[in-house]
């Protein structure tokens, strides 16, 4: 690796992949849980057969159609899901959100111990490379990022190995000096001698308002292109519309994307009324929020007042509102639409926690495949009263801190690996993983179709 060939640009060379630099230490020493490995190796045929046993109304052809789907824009994704139950004890997996720059590789134990680049290699060899091979353009290869260097150096090193070619690794924040788009073509500054280098394809992990600097219809092949963000891979409001369209399209074929009851485009002035209509609790999401920022859980008047004051100071005027997935049974709530966290298995002190499931997927030549999975649990147990003054986010929020996102800090107490030691604590089985995967694929299908409607 040549460090700093230009301001925050490095040249990654073949052979630079070092597992200890691209996984958390705890993950390096973990072994994948056999149930998770079994799930990751299921064929599409097995997944369809099983899903249609779990959801008897689901049409098998419809399931094959979505699993074998070849997304045009959204070929790499991460979905956040939750394991919920209703008053009758019927459990389900609900989609919370879908991300177009998902983290996750550094938290995923190796599926095959003999393949030391693990999911990094599967994504680059099975998704990125076939796309680059078909893309008729000249120039170099790059990884552009604004977060999560631990995984992005791993991707750059894997690309260098898979393509046998040096890769530019460039930080791309607003006002970056060394990365630019000109006439929709990406260039990276390679130093005074090299000058601006045209890039034929780039792996993109730019998350902070990327639409401010990445153009639509990029001539440089991008995985993922900005269209994936704009069509719902980032914008929660647009994603909600995409899910509604999907559910209308597939209603007669017995499959649907399951989300908490959602209210789109709610003006700030209507939030208080909606709070009461929903029985005194709700979740407010800023449409373009990311990594748990801009998502608020509200369970009482004091929190409503606090967050309304906060929201009035923000530029956004309309919000997405969802029904809260309750911690515990609430008498008097609508049995049709009330859902509860199943939560983790109780620990020795009897504490059970809300958790999410992060499922990363990629589009391969055979269709969409699962790639990585892990869970994050909340800070405060579901089954203990919230102490006076504590935010309900501590009970319901599962995002790890922003600190975690840089990948160098190791704040792991709430990260649940899908390894032998930890997976069992979640109380999940293969069927929940299958449901999670199918829900996630439906979300990807919906967003990609929406992108085609918006941009083609």
């Amino acid at each position: 690796m040549k460090l700093s060939i230009a301001e925050k640009v490095h040249l990654v060379e073949k052979g630079d992949f070092e597992p200890s630099e691209h996984w958390y230490p705890r993950v390096l020493n973990s072994n994948i849980h056999p149930l998770v490995a079994y799930f990751l190796n299921l064929t599409h045929e097995q997944l369809v057969e099983r899903y249609s046993r779990l959801s008897p109304k689901a049409n098998k052809d419809a399931l094959f159609e979505i699993l074998r789907y070849q997304p045009k824009y959204f070929r790499w994704s991460g979905t956040d899901l939750m394991h919920v139950t209703n008053q009758e004890g019927n459990r389900a997996i609900t989609v919370i959100e879908t991300n177009s720059c998902p983290s996750g590789q550094k938290s995923m134990p190796l599926l095959d111990l003999n393949k030391e680049q693990g999911g990094y290699e599967r994504l680059i060899a099975q998704t990125f490379k076939p796309m680059v091979d078909k893309h008729d353009a000249v120039g170099s290869l790059a990884v552009i990022y604004d977060k999560n260097p631990m995984e992005n150096i791993g991707y750059a090193a894997t690309i260098a190995d898979v393509f046998d070619e040096n890769v530019y690794l460039a930080e791309y924040k607003e006002n970056s000096e060394s990365v630019k788009f000109e006439d929709n073509q990406l260039y990276i500054f390679g130093g005074d001698e090299e000058g601006w280098i045209p890039i034929r394809a780039a792996f993109r992990y730019v998350t902070q308002q990327p639409w401010n600097r990445i153009p639509q219809k990029s001539k440089t092949l991008l995985v993922n292109p900005i269209e994936a963000c704009l069509a719902g891979g980032r914008n929660k409001e647009v994603a909600s519309q995409a899910y509604e369209d999907f559910n209308a399209k597939f209603a007669e074929r017995g499959i649907q994307i399951f989300t908490p009851k959602t209210y789109s485009n709610v003006p700030i002035g209507d939030l208080e009324h909606l709070f009461h209509e929903l029985g005194g609790s709700m979740v407010i999401k800023a449409p373009d929020s990311n990594a748990g920022q801009g998502v608020m859980t509200i369970v009482n008047e004091a929190e409503l007042k606090f967050h309304l004051a906060e929201l009035r100071a923000q530029p956004a005027t309309h919000f997405l509102v969802q029904q809260l997935i309750h911690a515990n049974y609430v008498q008097g709530t609508n049995p049709e639409s009330s859902w509860y966290h199943v939560g983790s298995l109780p620990d020795k002190k009897g504490r059970t926690y809300a958790f999410d499931i992060r499922l990363m997927m990629h589009a391969t030549e055979e269709g969409i495949r699962p790639l990585a999975a892990y869970s994050r649990k909340s800070r405060h147990p579901l089954n203990e009263p919230i102490p006076e003054g504590m935010s309900s986010w501590e009970v319901y929020g599962t995002n790890l801190s922003v600190k975690e996102e840089d990948g160098w800090s190791y704040e792991d107490q709430r990260l649940n690996l899908f390894d032998i030691r930890n997976f069992g604590q979640l109380g999940l089985g293969v069927d929940e993983l299958i449901r999670s995967f199918v829900q996630s694929v439906m979300a990807v299908y919906a967003i990609d179709q929406h992108a085609q409607k918006m941009f083609d």
Partner: protein
């Protein structure tokens, strides 16, 4: 006993790639992305080597060099920059830098430079 090194560089990738390289070579490593954090570490830790970028977001790497030398005369200091500037190199040398390392470089280029001085 392991030698200790502080890498001062605002590019976190650069910083971490270097510190991990040094860790593999039995150094105890610290890193800072700005002058302020670097000064705190200089005062708090017993450091053997400083590797300092000239251009930092909140000031000059020369300030870090000077603070390091004030704390311990025998601390070994190396400056880094992408800009070739003779007067800057001279100033760094006057303040006690052993070498002014030109970017870009590979991590493995550094050990011989440090061992040769």
């Amino acid at each position: 006993m392991n030698r200790s090194i502080l890498v001062v560089e605002d590019d976190i990738v650069f910083c971490k790639m270097l510190t991990r390289y040094f860790q593999k070579h039995n150094y105890t490593t610290y890193d800072a992305q700005n002058v302020q954090d670097a000064l705190k570490l200089i005062h708090a830790e017993q450091l053997d080597i400083l590797l300092i970028d000239y251009k930092l977001p909140d000031g000059s790497g020369l300030d870090v060099l000077q603070a390091g030398k004030e704390k311990a005369q025998n601390i070994r200091c190396f400056m880094m920059s992408r800009v070739k500037d003779a007067s800057l190199e001279e100033k760094a040398s006057e303040l006690g830098a052993e070498n002014f390392i030109q970017k870009p470089f590979s991590p493995q280029d550094l050990l011989p430079i440090m061992q040769n001085h």
